[in-house]
């Protein structure tokens, strides 16, 4: 363990590798976390099925890849399918949990997560998959740092998607309606906004964003039916750390988590990479609580 820290100081170039890999994968975490923040903020549903939507999108991209569609070309198709799927899930389940207590939505989405991951397992089997994109890999610093082109492409795609969604939320009619509903659903209803439709659209949009993130994950990383839970936990870490409605915070936290995972994987060993997000989640929750306790004292 200490050897690896020594290695990092001896060969500073390795830091660049870790940072780059962390940022590339972190950009994908940002997408899923942004979707969660959206659903959480607008309809107060904590979607535990977030990671499963990501993996589902990844499998669709992989499946289309076996049919000869390039993963990047499959992006719009997957977004459309996941949007429809999200709408369906909303109409059948989420509709009934919005007004209920928070644990209900948590457990209901956990049930959805279970159905999706097991369904994927039945459909595609438990093998670890990657969608082939056919891009080449570049070496920098005499082979010490390798950068796959596909990672850069996916990074740009993630940024583009995030920018599109943010622009959509800021400018379009539906985006304004969503933000109005998030601020005050009752008032929005009085103003003539069909909040039911807004909720459905928000959930479907979230599923579509997750699906897009999944396509990127399937290209630059690996997908497996049961890899959804870590993605859900990452999204929760990022949103809890950043706070709701804080888009710059989500971006920074997401990229930071990506880097943190790469570093802990390198320094402590790969088996700790999984535990990183979990330990960070606990730390973030404790930190929030300390903050709250301090706030309470101020109020007293």
């Amino acid at each position: 363990m200490l050897d690896n820290i020594g290695l990092l100081t001896l060969a500073p170039v390795l830091n660049i590798q870790l940072l780059l890999d962390g940022l590339f994968i972190g950009a994908v975490f940002v997408l899923a976390a942004y979707g969660l923040a959206l659903v959480w903020g607008v309809m107060n549903v904590k979607n535990l099925a977030q990671g499963e939507f990501v993996i589902m999108g990844g499998y669709f991209a992989w499946h289309l890849g076996t049919l000869g569609v390039h993963p990047i070309a499959s992006l719009p198709i997957v977004i459309a399918i996941m949007f429809a799927f999200g709408w369906l899930v909303y109409e059948t389940i989420i509709k009934y949990v919005i007004s209920r207590d928070l644990f209900t939505s948590l457990l209901a989405t956990f049930g959805i997560a279970l159905v999706v991951q097991q369904g994927l397992n039945l459909a595609y089997g438990p093998e670890v998959r990657t969608a082939e994109s056919g891009f080449s890999t570049h070496s920098l610093f005499g082979g010490l740092v390798t950068v796959a082109e596909i990672k850069i492409v996916s990074f740009c795609l993630a940024l583009g998607l995030a920018a599109t969604v943010i622009l959509f939320m800021k400018t379009s009619r539906m985006g304004q309606a969503i933000r109005a509903t998030a601020q005050d659903a009752r008032a929005a209803k009085i103003m003539g906004i069909d909040t039911e439709r807004v909720y459905a659209f928000t959930y479907a949009l979230n599923a579509a964003i997750c699906g897009a993130a999944g396509v990127l994950v399937s290209m630059i990383w690996v997908i497996q039916p049961f890899y959804g839970i870590p993605h859900s936990i990452r999204a929760f870490v990022i949103v809890t750390a950043a706070g709701l409605g804080n888009i710059p915070g989500v971006i920074v936290a997401g990229l930071g988590l990506g880097v943190a995972e790469q570093y802990s994987g390198f320094v402590l060993g790969l088996e700790f990479q999984q535990a990183t997000a979990l330990i960070l989640l606990l730390l973030v929750l404790i930190w929030r609580q300390v903050q709250l306790a301090r706030y309470r004292q101020v109020v007293q």
Binding site: L106, A275, Q289
Partner: protein
């Protein structure tokens, strides 16, 4: 919302829409013959169905799971998704103690099960006893230490935090070489015949489940039971009324941890082999089952978890192998349907349907069922 419920509605209903105000104290009105029937079944089962002894032993374990989950989840309103943590922690504590009594743990685990620990009857049961007690005490200590951290979290944060706790423990146990890491620990070998072993462990699980039931039945009828119900209904008000909420929450959680730790120690000895993912911290199976069973039967009731666990376990054991991989999808659907459309559970539904049978007097001015449910939202 209908009529005049605004005056009484919210105050009279718990989170699950069951009228509560008129229950003087959570008195148990169960007729004695039900207890007699259960005890007779429990004692006679291994002789009547010798082939299913282990399955019925697991039924008692499931009942214990659901009952202990309900102490915090149903009665106190703190829905934990990570109670399985204490099951696994107890298992590991007992394993380390039991192995450590006879040999060095580090060298034993690094042999990767190459050497089995073979003991005679006296040593085996003595080590099992010491291990189980140590597991229970260790889990209580863990519950108090960790409870100080997680009980600052409210609502869904508590659920996510406890889930994170269980998953983190599972990852860390898999990397800790001293306790065997991912390849686990082999427990001491039972000195007798396999059938004899299953009967012995059946009796242990039966005793533990009965102990759990008697304990929670007593607990809910005390002042303490009312205090944790008050925390569930409105924590801020409970605190304002002078209830030391953190202390109550810690005691409730550590009593669940005590029982879960013991069950984990005994389960570890029954399986004979411990590893972190499937046996000690099965967050996706036992960890979820306990929540589902309590919800299915009706959380926040004495008998609900027992009924839910029995029904769930029987249906699972009968259908599981025939569903050919679809069982997990069915479990997910069951969770969704149960939570979204039938949250009050079987007991809650029966109490609403026939309140007088449960010693509840319903104030006629409140149309308790629908109105109360609507008002509490």
């Amino acid at each position: 919302m209908t009529g005049d419920n605004t005056l009484h509605g919210p105050a009279r209903t718990g989170g699950d829409g069951v009228p509560r105000r008129k229950i003087a104290i959570n008195a148990d009105t169960t007729p004695w013959y039900i207890y007699a029937a259960i005890i007779i079944f429990g004692v006679a089962a291994p002789f009547i169905f010798p082939a299913y002894t282990t399955q019925i032993a697991l039924l008692w374990l499931m009942i214990l799971f659901a009952l202990t989950w309900d102490i915090c989840g149903g009665q106190m309103g703190y829905n934990s998704l990570g109670n399985i943590f204490f099951f696994g922690a107890g298992m590991y504590i007992s394993a380390v103690i039991q192995v450590g009594m006879f040999t060095d743990v580090g060298t034993y685990t690094s042999a990767r099960g190459g050497e089995q620990l073979v003991l005679d009857y006296g040593d085996y049961f003595f080590s099992l006893f010491v291990g189980t007690i140590a597991a229970a005490i260790g889990c209580v200590v863990l519950a108090i230490v960790l409870g100080r951290i997680v009980f600052g979290l409210r609502g869904p944060y508590f659920a996510i935090g406890t889930l994170g706790l269980a998953l983190a423990a599972r990852e860390l146990a898999g990397t800790w070489e001293w306790i065997g890491g991912g390849s686990g620990i082999a427990m001491p070998v039972y000195p007798g015949q396999p059938h004899e072993k299953s009967v012995v462990f059946y009796i242990l699980f039966l005793l533990l489940a009965v102990l759990t039931f008697v304990f929670v039945r007593w607990l809910y009828a005390t002042r303490f039971g009312l205090a944790i119900n008050a925390i569930r209904d409105d924590e801020g008000k409970a605190e304002a009324m002078g209830i030391h909420t953190l202390r109550h929450k810690l005691v409730a959680w550590s009593s669940a941890a005590f029982l879960l730790g013991m069950s984990g120690a005994i389960f570890g000895n029954l399986t004979g082999f411990i590893e972190p993912l499937e046996v000690a911290f099965p967050a996706a199976t036992f960890g979820i089952f306990m929540v589902v069973m309590a919800l299915l039967g009706g959380k926040g009731t004495l008998w609900g978890p027992v009924i839910g666990a029995t029904l769930f376990h029987i249906v699972k054991e009968v259908t599981w192998t025939y569903l050919l991989g679809w069982q997990w999808v069915a479990l997910g659907l069951l969770i969704v349907i149960n939570v979204v459309f039938f949250q009050e559970g079987i007991m809650g539904w029966m109490q609403r349907k026939w309140p007088e049978r449960f010693g509840i007097t319903v104030d006629q001015r409140v149309s308790a069922d629908k109105a109360g449910e609507e008002a509490s939202r």
